[in-house]
Amino acid sequence: MHKRLLTIDDEESIQIVIKFGINMVAGWEVLSASGGRMGIDTAQRELPDAILLDVMMPEMDGLAFLRQLRSNPHTRLIPVVLLTANRYLPDKDLLTELGVVEVISKPFLPVNLVRQIDRALLN
């Protein structure tokens, strides 16, 4: 099923490989944002099916983004998949409460990424 995803990451190279890989493997549409604030704007405007969110970002980190996303009734139900290079993560319960459906560690393979997102969204 065709999906529209929003990827939020301050690393442009990551954005490129995610966008290309997912598009190549699954044919899904991938929107990109280079930071939390831009991500909030894009999410409110585009209402994607899911958001792929980097945790460690300047200005607004992943958790701050999530709190803001959940505070907006339009975006609060959008499922979020965390992409993180750091395994030091907040408590699982907190992540669940903030609507995180899956945590994927970097580095990842585009093929696996599609499978993991698909499974998380189905759940």
């Binding site: 490989v17 190549m24 580095p107 393979l109």
Partner: protein
């Protein structure tokens, strides 16, 4: 005065032969009362001394004066029948015979026997035939000018206390003799009586002297014993003093050493009270040594810190060596990380009478560990981000969707891809290990079955096994476990991955689980294997019930000298394995950490050319 007696020079027997016997004109005591008084007076003088020699001298002097005799002597009869005058009082006009030795003939045995029966001999004139003085004896006594003599025996006293060890052979000890040399003399009854009484006094003195001698002997014996005991006591006192000095020196040295060390050193008794503490206690806690001595640990450490110590204290007082880490606050308000060791003290009665406590400051080490953890975390994050781009980009390129490369180009791309994957695994392993070791990871345990974990692990590794043409043989059992499923699956996949890497194509890898009561399955082909000692599991019945997992392969095996170190980081059988097999050298270390965090043990049995079996235990849920 030994040897032959010399003849008196001025008196000749013939000259005196004509001398008549006449009564003495001495003022002798007339009444009985006077006699008693005289005797009492002499007795009193005698008793002034306990020395026999002095007593005898007193007697001869007194008798000589009272009787107005020319010579009075005490003649001691020796055991062989000879004799010698041992005390004498003689007028200067007559020769002294003191000390002369007289032969047996002078005092023959028959005379001795008569005297022994109490005979008293009073001779008024030695030349008077009625006196019955033998001619030879007459000649002999006249050598010393004797004209009249009075002889009374001195007998051994019969009542001696304590009794003699051996009674005297001869009843007669000696003779008390008075000589009149200037004329014959008829001895008065009183004089005879006096002599007899004095002889008795001498007997008593002899007995007393004997007793005195015995007493002195006993006293000397006792004195010697006392001196020996005293000497022994003196030596003991000296020894004890030396031991005390040595102990004081030893204590002083111990105190100097312990005070010089930058660690807390203490001895705590079984009431948790300090009985010894070094200077560092004062430096750290700001309390004097005397204030700490005798205080309880609760008082010294306070209600904030003591509760964290209490279980460890109880453990030490139960006889266990305890090591733990704690945070303590110093008197200046700073907090220190410390490593604490308690070593139980078992006394001679096998009783735990306390424990030695060593506390060392590990704040610097902890700070370095935190810096290391932070460094690894940052570095791994900084590595992961570019690796993600690199890895993903290479994967996309490998698909060929962006164009077909030449054969060489494709080969280089595959090299880049494989090594990127290896780098990814290495970074992941380093971060995993660092997180487990730093304690950042808490095992989130939950109920699950062995079957679930084994199926998940085999599913994960199936693709790799197929690629290597290895058959995975899974033999699961539905046993309930209380574990962090993700980490146990990680451990299982690590072990399966190793087994696949080191197996030849066409081989089998078994994943087995056994209930505690089942004996372990023998290694492949039933051959004896070498076991890693470091991780050997005790099957003591007191241990909690455990389940045994095994991953067994038919690979090349592990040499015995590598079994000890195989679970250490970056330790591989062949240093080129990490390149050839794509391993990181951290997989088994991570496995061990995961299993240990679950309270289990891990070890390996292996036989070169036959295969290896990696085993680990996990606690089973207690129904």
């Amino acid at each position: 005065m030994t040897g032959k007696p010399s003849k008196p020079s001025s008196r000749k027997y013939k000259k005196d032969r004509t001398t008549e016997v006449k009564q003495t004109v001495l003022p002798l005591p007339k009444s009985e009362r006077q006699r008693v008084e005289l005797f009492a007076e002499i007795s009193f003088k005698i008793r002034q001394s306990l020395q026999l020699k002095e007593i005898l001298r007193t007697i001869v002097t007194e008798v000589q004066q009272v009787l107005q005799a020319d010579r009075v002597l005490i003649y001691q009869v020796l055991a062989d029948g000879t004799g010698t005058p041992i005390s004498e009082s003689v007028l200067p006009a007559y020769p002294a015979i003191l000390g002369m030795e007289f032969p047996e003939e002078v005092f023959p045995t028959e005379y001795q026997q008569l005297y022994a029966k109490g005979r008293v001999r009073s001779v008024a004139d030695v030349r008077d035939p009625s006196a019955e003085v033998a001619d030879c004896l007459l000649e002999f006594v006249e050598q010393f000018g004797v004209k009249a003599k009075l002889i009374v025996p001195i007998l051994h006293s019969l009542s001696v206390h304590p009794p003699r060890k051996s009674p005297p052979k001869n009843a007669i000890w000696g003779l008390l003799i008075a000589h009149q040399c200037d004329r014959p003399r008829k001895w008065a009854e009183f004089e005879l009586e006096l002599m007899q009484q004095l002889a008795d006094q001498i007997s008593i003195a002899l007995a007393q002297g004997e007793l005195w001698g015995q007493l002195e002997e006993v006293v000397a014996e006792r004195t010697a014993e006392l001196q020996a005991a005293n000497s022994s006591l003196q030596q003991e006192i000296i020894d004890r003093k030396q031991v005390e000095i040595a102990l004081r020196q030893s204590e002083e040295q111990l105190r100097l050493i312990t005070n010089a060390l930058p660690v807390l050193i203490a001895y705590v008794d079984d009431r948790e009270c300090y009985q010894f503490n070094n200077q560092a206690y004062t430096d750290w806690l700001g309390k004097s040594l005397t204030a700490i001595h005798g205080s309880s640990m609760r008082e010294v450490w306070g209600e904030d810190c003591y509760p964290r110590m209490q279980p460890h204290i109880n453990n030490a007082l139960a006889g266990n060596i305890v090591t733990y880490e704690n945070e303590i606050q110093l008197h200046d308000g700073t907090t220190r990380s410390v490593s604490i060791n308690y070593i139980p003290h078992i006394d001679n009665d096998d009783r735990i009478s306390g424990f030695f406590a060593l506390t060392s400051d590990i704040s610097d080490r902890k700070a370095i560990e935190r810096m290391k953890d932070e460094f690894i975390s940052v570095v791994s994050h900084e590595l992961r981000t570019p690796l993600t781009s690199l890895h993903s980009a290479l994967k996309i390129l490998v698909t060929g969707r962006l164009g077909v490369l030449t054969k060489d180009g494709q080969q280089f791309l595959e090299i880049a891809d494989e090594n990127t994957e290896r780098l990814v695994r290495l970074v992941n392993s380093v971060l995993d290990l660092q997180r487990i070791e730093s304690g950042a990871v808490t095992m989130e345990k939950q109920a699950c079955t062995a079957t679930e974990l084994m199926i998940q692990a085999v599913d994960t590794m199936q693709a790799m096994a197929q690629q290597q043409e290895i058959t995975l043989v899974n033999q699961p059992l539905d046993i309930q476990l209380w574990v962090d499923a993700d980490y146990i699956v990680q451990a299982l996949t690590n072990l399966i991955s190793n087994a696949i890497k080191f197996s030849s194509p066409g081989g089998n890898v078994w994943l087995i689980v056994q209930r505690p009561e089942q004996p372990p399955t023998p290694p492949p082909n039933g051959r004896k294997s070498t076991k890693s000692k470091a991780s050997k599991v005790s099957k003591s019945p007191s241990l909690p019930i455990e389940i045994l997992f095994q991953v067994r392969d038919e690979g090349q095996g592990i040499p015995a000298n590598k079994l000890e170190t195989i679970f250490e980081r970056f330790q591989q059988v062949d240093s080129s394995d990490s390149r050839k097999k794509g391993g990181t050298g951290l997989g088994l270390t991570i496995c061990r950490k995961i299993i240990e965090q679950h309270g289990g043990k891990i070890w390996v049995d292996s036989t070169l050319g036959v295969g290896s079996t990696f085993s680990f235990t996990l606690p089973v849920i207690d129904n």
